[in-house]
C-alpha cells in the first residue's frame, strides 16, 4: 500500500509535523509515517536573496526518498524561492513523489504580527494537503475555499477551508481508490 512520509528538514516544530501528518492521513486515507529529521538545507541558500532554492531542496529530498510507491513531503522553516518568483509557499512534482512546504511565510511573525500557533497549524495543514495533492496529479482548483486552490498570498491561504471541495475529494477518492475517512 502507498505510504505518505513526512520529513522535517532542519529544525521544525514537532507539532507542525504532527499536524501535517494528521491532515494528510484524514484527507488522503493513506498510511502516514514520520520520517527522521533531515539536515538543514544550507547548500540551497542563495546568499544574494537570503532565501532557499526549493528546486535544490527537492533535488536533495530525492536522495532520502524511500522506494516507490510513496509520497514524500519535506517541511522546512526556510523561506523558499524559484528563480522566476520572489517566493513560494511550497513546491511539488506534479504526478511525482516529492513535495515541499515552507512555514516561513505561514507564520504571523513574518508579517510583523504576534505569533499565532493555531493559525500556523491550520495554514501548514492546508499547504501540506495542497502540495501532496499535486503529487497525486491534481492541479489548482477554481474553488478559492478549497485547499487545492492557487495561493500567492497569505490572505489566499486563509480563505481556504481545512478540507477539500467535493470535486477534489471525489478526485482523491478515484486516485487513491480508498474510502474517504
Amino acid at each position: 500500500m502507498r505510504t505518505v512520509y513526512v520529513a522535517p528538514i532542519g529544525e521544525v516544530e514537532e507539532t507542525v509535523v504532527d499536524v501535517v501528518a494528521l491532515a494528510l492521513w484524514s484527507t488522503f486515507g493513506l498510511p502516514v509515517k514520520r520520517f527522521p529529521s533531515l539536515p538543514d538545507p544550507a547548500a540551497a541558500l542563495d546568499a544574494a536573496r537570503q532565501q532557499y532554492s526549493s528546486s535544490a531542496i527537492l533535488r536533495d529530498l530525492q536522495l532520502y526518498c524511500p522506494e516507490d510507491p510513496v509520497k514524500f513531503v519535506g517541511i522546512t522553516e526556510r523561506d523558499l524561492f524559484i528563480p522566476m518568483l520572489s517566493f513560494v509557499f511550497g513546491q511539488a512534482q506534479v504526478g511525482g513523489p516529492l513535495a515541499l512546504v515552507s512555514c516561513a511565510r505561514l507564520r504571523q511573525e513574518y508579517y510583523g504580527l504576534p505569533p499565532d500557533p493555531a493559525l500556523l497549524y491550520s495554514r501548514v495543514a492546508k499547504e501540506g494537503i495542497h502540495e501532496i495533492g499535486h503529487t497525486f496529479g491534481m492541479v489548482h482548483c477554481s474553488d478559492a475555499a478549497c485547499p487545492m486552490a492557487l495561493s500567492n498570498t497569505i490572505a489566499q491561504v486563509d480563505r481556504k477551508r481545512g478540507g477539500l471541495c467535493d470535486s477534489c475529494a471525489a478526485l482523491v477518492h478515484e486516485i487513491t481508490g480508498k474510502e474517504m475517512l
Partner: protein, 452 residues
C-alpha cells in the same frame, strides 16, 4: 480546462526553466520547455503556444528578442513575455517595439505572474470564441453549398428557392469560376426533383457529333463505332434536371436541335426514327456574353429567348469582397481537414492580400490559392508570405501600354472595355473615362462600338 492551453518556457538556465514550468503545471497548464532560441523556434514550428516566456539573454547566437521575432513570423498573434534579470529602459522599449506582450523582471511576485497569465489566457479564450462565432456566422450564410452575404447573391438564393419548384428553363451567366454549377445544383436539390437525377454536360469540352450523341443518345449502327443503342443525357435526366454547361460554345446545328427540345420537349436519338418525350428541367450556363454572340451571328436569338426565361447573373468575386473572409474560413476548415494540416486561421495581413487581389478566376481561384497556401504553411495561421505567389502572378499579368496601335484604336479599346465593365452604363463609363456623355455617345456611334 487549462490543460488545453500549451505554454512554453525558453531559458538556457535549467533551474529557471524547469521551476517556472513546474509552477505553471501546478496551475493545470501544459508546459513545454526549450533550452535555447533555436530549440524554441523548432518547437513553435510544430505547434503554436498560448504564451511564450522567453529569457532576454541567452547564449548561442539567438537572444530572446530574435527568438521572439522568429516566433512572431510564424505566429503573428503569439503572446510573448520577455523575462530579464536586469531591466533597462532600452531593452524594454526594444522588446515592446518588436511585439512583446509583456516585459517582466525576475524575480517577480507570484501574484503578478498569475494575473499576467490569466489576462493573456482570457484574451486567448475570447479569440477562440470569436473564431467559433465566426464559423457559426458562416453557417448562417450558407445556402446549399454556396456561401455568401452579398445582397445580389442573397437575391439569387431567393430566386433559386422560387424556381426550384418550377420546370422553367434557367440561364446562369457568370465569369469562369463564379460557381455556375453550384447554383444549378442548388436549384435542383432545393426542389421536388432533388431525389431525381441531376445530369451535368460540359458542352464546350466535346466535338459537335460527340456532343450530339452525348445529349440525345444514338441507335445501334447510327455511325461507325455505335455498336449498341445508347441513351443520351436528356433521357437520363428524365424527371430530373439537365445542366448544360458552357452552352455558349455549341455549334449552330446543335443550337437548332436544342431549340426543338426546349419547344417540343421531344427529340430523336442519333440515327433514330421514333420521337422520345422528355420531362426535365433545363438549366444552361455560360461565361460568354450571349447578346454579343447573337450580334456577331454566333448564337441563335430564338434559342437565347427560350433559355433566358429565368436569368441568373452571378456577380464576379471582385464585386462581392465581403464574401472573401467567409469563403476563406470555409476553405481553410475544409481543406485543412482534407490535407490533415493544423491550419485553422488566417492572419489579418494575409486576409488583406486576398481582399486586395482582383480574382480574375473568381471563387475557384480563391479556393486554389487557399489550398496552395495550406500545403506550404508552417504554422496554424496562414500568413501574408504564404500568399506571395499571388503578387508574382499579378506582376506577370500586368497590363502594358500597347505600342503597335493608333490612338483611335487605343481609345476605342478603352471605351469598349469600360462599357463592358459597367454593363453599358453610359454615365458611369463617361465618368470613369473623364469625358462628357455626349462625347461618349458620338464616339460609340462614329466607330460603331458595342454598348454592352
Amino acid at each position: 480546462m487549462k490543460s488545453h492551453w500549451h505554454l512554453m518556457v525558453v531559458d538556457d538556465e535549467e533551474v529557471m526553466r524547469e521551476s517556472l514550468a513546474a509552477w505553471l503545471r501546478e496551475d493545470g497548464y501544459s508546459v513545454a520547455t526549450a533550452a535555447c532560441g533555436r530549440d524554441a523556434i523548432e518547437k513553435a514550428k510544430e505547434q503554436d503556444f498560448a504564451i511564450y516566456f522567453v529569457d532576454l539573454k541567452m547564449p548561442g547566437g539567438i537572444g530572446g528578442i530574435e527568438t521572439m521575432i522568429e516566433i512572431r513570423k510564424m505566429h503573428p498573434d503569439a503572446s510573448v513575455v520577455i523575462v530579464t534579470a536586469y531591466a533597462t529602459v532600452d531593452t524594454a522599449i526594444t522588446a515592446m517595439k518588436e511585439g512583446a506582450q509583456e516585459y517582466i523582471v525576475k524575480p517577480c511576485n507570484p501574484e503578478e505572474i498569475s494575473l499576467l497569465v490569466n489576462r493573456i489566457i482570457k484574451v486567448r479564450e475570447l479569440q477562440r470564441e470569436n473564431v467559433l462565432l465566426r464559423k457559426k456566422l458562416t453557417r448562417q450564410y450558407v445556402f446549399q453549398d454556396i456561401i455568401s452575404k452579398n445582397p445580389k447573391m442573397l437575391e439569387i438564393f431567393h430566386l433559386i428557392k422560387e424556381v426550384a419548384s418550377l420546370k422553367t428553363t434557367v440561364l446562369i451567366q457568370g465569369e469562369s469560376g463564379t460557381g455556375k454549377e453550384l447554383i444549378a445544383r442548388a436549384i435542383h436539390f432545393s426542389g421536388a426533383r432533388a431525389s431525381r437525377p441531376f445530369i451535368c454536360v460540359s458542352c464546350g469540352a466535346l466535338a459537335e457529333t460527340l456532343l450530339e450523341s452525348e445529349l440525345f443518345g444514338h441507335e445501334e449502327g447510327a455511325f461507325t463505332g455505335a455498336k449498341a443503342r445508347k441513351k443520351g443525357k436528356f433521357e437520363l435526366a428524365d424527371n430530373g434536371t439537365i445542366f448544360l454547361d458552357e452552352l455558349g460554345d455549341i455549334s449552330p446545328k446543335l443550337q437548332v436541335d436544342l431549340l426543338r427540345v426546349l419547344q417540343e420537349r421531344t427529340f430523336y436519338r442519333v440515327g433514330g426514327t421514333s420521337e422520345i418525350a422528355v420531362d426535365a428541367q433545363v438549366i444552361a450556363a455560360t461565361n460568354r456574353d450571349l447578346p454579343q454572340s447573337i450580334r456577331e451571328g454566333r448564337f441563335r436569338e430564338d434559342l437565347f429567348y427560350r433559355l433566358n426565361v429565368i436569368a441568373i447573373q452571378i456577380p464576379p468575386l471582385r464585386e462581392r469582397g465581403e464574401d472573401i473572409p467567409l469563403l476563406v474560413d470555409h476553405f481553410i476548415d475544409r481543406i485543412a481537414r482534407e490535407f490533415n494540416k493544423e491550419v485553422s486561421e488566417i492572419s489579418e495581413g494575409a486576409l488583406k492580400v486576398l481582399m486586395d487581389h482582383s480574382w480574375p478566376g473568381n471563387v475557384r481561384e480563391l479556393e486554389n490559392a487557399v489550398e496552395r497556401a495550406i500545403v506550404t504553411a508552417q504554422g496554424h495561421v496562414l500568413l501574408e508570405s504564404d500568399f506571395s505567389f499571388l503578387k508574382d502572378g499579378q506582376h506577370e499579368g500586368r497590363w502594358e501600354v500597347p505600342t503597335d496601335l493608333t490612338l483611335d484604336e487605343i481609345q476605342n479599346q478603352a471605351i469598349a472595355a469600360t462599357l463592358r465593365r459597367t454593363h453599358g452604363n453610359i454615365k458611369e463609363t463617361a465618368g470613369i473615362l473623364g469625358v462628357d456623355r455626349s462625347t461618349l455617345y458620338d464616339r460609340i456611334k462614329k466607330f460603331d462600338l458595342p454598348r454592352n
